[in-house]
């Protein structure tokens, strides 16, 4: 799949999902406001010109700032894959909880339009024919990913706890 946008360092959740749309909370309603202040990209997303699985690449500290979960749910809605040199903690956690695919790749060299593939522990740039190693996500989050997100994971724990309670 192609790199559809290349962003700088320190892209905040205010840029991903501007505060003035925060009264909209439901995951099926948030995608319309993804990168609302980046009108060209926002329009392409809304017109469904960007296929699911496309790559968004960024510098370090992507998703820094506010804990607003809308910043993860709006990108999840378009099934984008985010590759960054590093991520803000809460954004990364929200992404994993909601099933938005995030990849930490500090050395990636790629430009908009390049064709990328994920092969095991590497991002492969088919355009410049280079391999870039992926850093593992925090191990604490693996179980949540394996369960398909935090809601099914918590539901499973709830059922176990409920079954174990004294009658």
């Amino acid at each position: 799949m192609k790199v559809v946008i290349k962003l700088e360092d320190d892209v905040s959740t205010d840029a991903i999902y501007p505060g003035r749309f925060m009264a909209t909370v439901l995951p099926n309603e948030t995608p319309q406001f993804a990168f609302a202040d980046h009108s060209e990209f926002n329009s392409k997303l809304k017109r469904h010109e960007i296929p699911a699985g496309s790559f968004m690449i960024a510098g370090k500290n992507f998703g820094c700032g506010s804990s607003r979960e809308q910043a993860a749910s709006c990108l999840r809605g378009y099934e984008l894959v985010v590759i960054a040199k590093s991520f803000g903690r809460i954004f990364m956690q929200n992404a994993i909880n909601l099933g938005l695919r995030v990849i930490v790749c500090p050395t990636l060299e790629a430009a908009e339009g390049d064709e990328l593939e994920i092969e095991n522990e590497f991002v492969v740039n088919k355009t410049n024919h280079k391999y870039f190693p992926i850093e593992p996500l925090p191990k604490a989050r693996q179980a949540i990913m394996d369960a398909g997100g935090l809601i099914p994971y918590t539901r499973k724990k709830l059922i176990e706890k409920h079954a174990a309670r004294p009658h």
């Binding site: 205010d14 505060g19 809601i151 724990k157 409920h162």
Partner: protein, 431 residues
């Protein structure tokens, strides 16, 4: 090997004698805070229970706090409907630590929690707000989480799969020069270690400066620790913490003081001597773009903001009111003041600060977050510049991606309101 304070808190919360950075634990929560985004938490919470046949009841209503503060009073029908949904949930679940849009008990969540004695040293506090780090000022481990994470907390009473963070020890020595404050110190630290310098780590504050700093100042340091990427900031509790909780927050029962071990292992140690620290400014559009004030003195500003969870406490309003008393703000400047809570607002009224501010030309708003994050009142025009005591200056933050936000202390904000330009409060004519 000993434990840092956060390791001790997570060991206790996960019923283990010892944990170390990197361990993964499931930790019991002492306090779970949300604001308007409780509307999303409620949605996710009900989603967890869907199809289980189990009644959707929160694990412990006495440990949940909900404060309406982000868009108050509601700016739209949508927000009002979300707030209504939150009220109905609060009533149904029997949540008592609920602070509605009311003059007798309302305010910004990060002020309401401390001033009501909801946070104690050693507590594990989570909040669906990134500035939940603020509560580390009282010796708690407090950090921001997303709405779905909070739904899991409401269900199970614990935060799942927490990786014990490494800790950066910051030792601060020296005395502040006149007109230099904890806000300048934290901006300086963020500038020095960068916006991701403490990512996934905790900042533990130590040193003689901290021991002599009041709780109000400590709240500023911990509030903005997240702007260096930190999971949290924390000040180990001491006599000052007890003084604040018993004297100002109505706490009457015994307060446990938890300290890190002398042989705790730190990720790194940073020493800061503040003797020669000058007022600091964070320039657009990142909080770590920090420079000493002289490098940007004379920059024209259109809107001054004093207040928020960072700098809306009584000592902040005092600085602004005393600077502006008997003076007028510059003609082409708007000044907005947001006390952090209605309790602070009322105290400022009694002390005459509010009338000094209004007479100078400032507009005193109701306590709330709206202006800081650009969702409710105080938006900037195209090409305008704000100078603000709030905590973020990201592009678009104050409601307009075509405007700029500079961050500063209350002393700098007040001095600059008089001139209409970024002004050093140590300038003789102002002070």
């Amino acid at each position: 090997m000993g434990m840092t304070i956060v390791e001790k808190i997570l060991a206790r919360a996960s019923d283990q004698p010892f944990v170390k950075a990197g361990d993964v634990v499931e930790a019991k929560v002492d306090l779970a805070m949300s604001h308007e985004n409780a509307a999303l938490v409620i949605n996710q919470f009900h989603d967890v229970y869907k199809g289980t046949g189990i009644d959707a009841n929160v694990w412990d209503p006495s440990k949940i706090a909900i404060i309406l503060d982000h868009r108050v009073p509601a700016e739209s029908a949508k927000t009002a409907t979300n707030q209504k949904k939150v009220r109905e949930f609060v009533a149904k679940q029997g949540i008592k630590k609920f602070h509605d849009i009311r003059g007798d008990e309302g305010g910004i969540c990060h002020q309401i929690l401390p001033e009501n004695g909801y946070v104690r040293p050693g507590y594990l506090v989570v909040g669906t707000d990134s500035h939940t780090t603020t509560h580390g000022a009282l010796g708690a481990f407090a950090f921001g989480i997303g709405a779905t994470d909070m739904a899991a907390v409401w269900t199970l009473g614990s935060v799942l799969n927490v990786e014990v963070p490494a800790t950066i020890k910051v030792i601060i020595t020296g005395k502040f020069q006149p007109h230099v404050s904890p806000k300048d110190l934290i901006l300086h630290i963020i500038g020095r270690i960068s916006a991701e310098g403490a990512n996934f780590k905790v900042i533990e504050f130590h040193g003689e400066t901290i021991r002599h700093m009041n709780t109000s100042g400590r709240l500023v340091l911990c509030n903005m620790s997240v702007e260096a990427g930190a999971t949290s900031g924390i000040v180990p509790a001491d006599k000052e913490t007890v003084r604040y909780l018993m004297g100002h927050a109505g706490v009457t029962d015994e307060i446990e003081i938890m300290q890190p071990d002398a042989d705790a292992e730190y990720d790194q140690i940073v020493e800061v001597d503040i003797t020669r620290l000058t007022p600091q400014i964070a320039c657009p559009h990142t909080v770590d773009n920090v420079i000493p004030i002289y490098s940007t003195e004379g920059k024209k500003v259109h809107q001054i903001v004093v207040g928020s969870c960072t700098n809306g406490r009584i000592d902040d309003l005092e600085i602004a009111a005393k600077t502006l008393k008997g003076r007028r703000i510059a003609k082409d400047v708007r000044m907005l003041v947001f006390p952090a809570s209605w309790r602070i607002y009322k105290e400022a009224l009694k002390k005459g600060y509010i009338s000094s501010l209004i007479d100078a030309g400032a507009v005193v708003m109701n306590p709330g977050c709206g202006c800081c994050l650009g969702v409710h009142e105080g938006a900037l025009g195209d090409g305008e510049v704000a100078l603000s005591t709030t905590n973020r200056n990201f592009k678009g933050r104050m409601g307009n991606p075509g405007a700029e936000v500079y961050l500063c202390s209350p002393a700098v904000a007040a001095a600059s309101a008089i001139t209409g330009f970024i002004t050093d409060p140590r300038n003789g004519e102002i002070s």
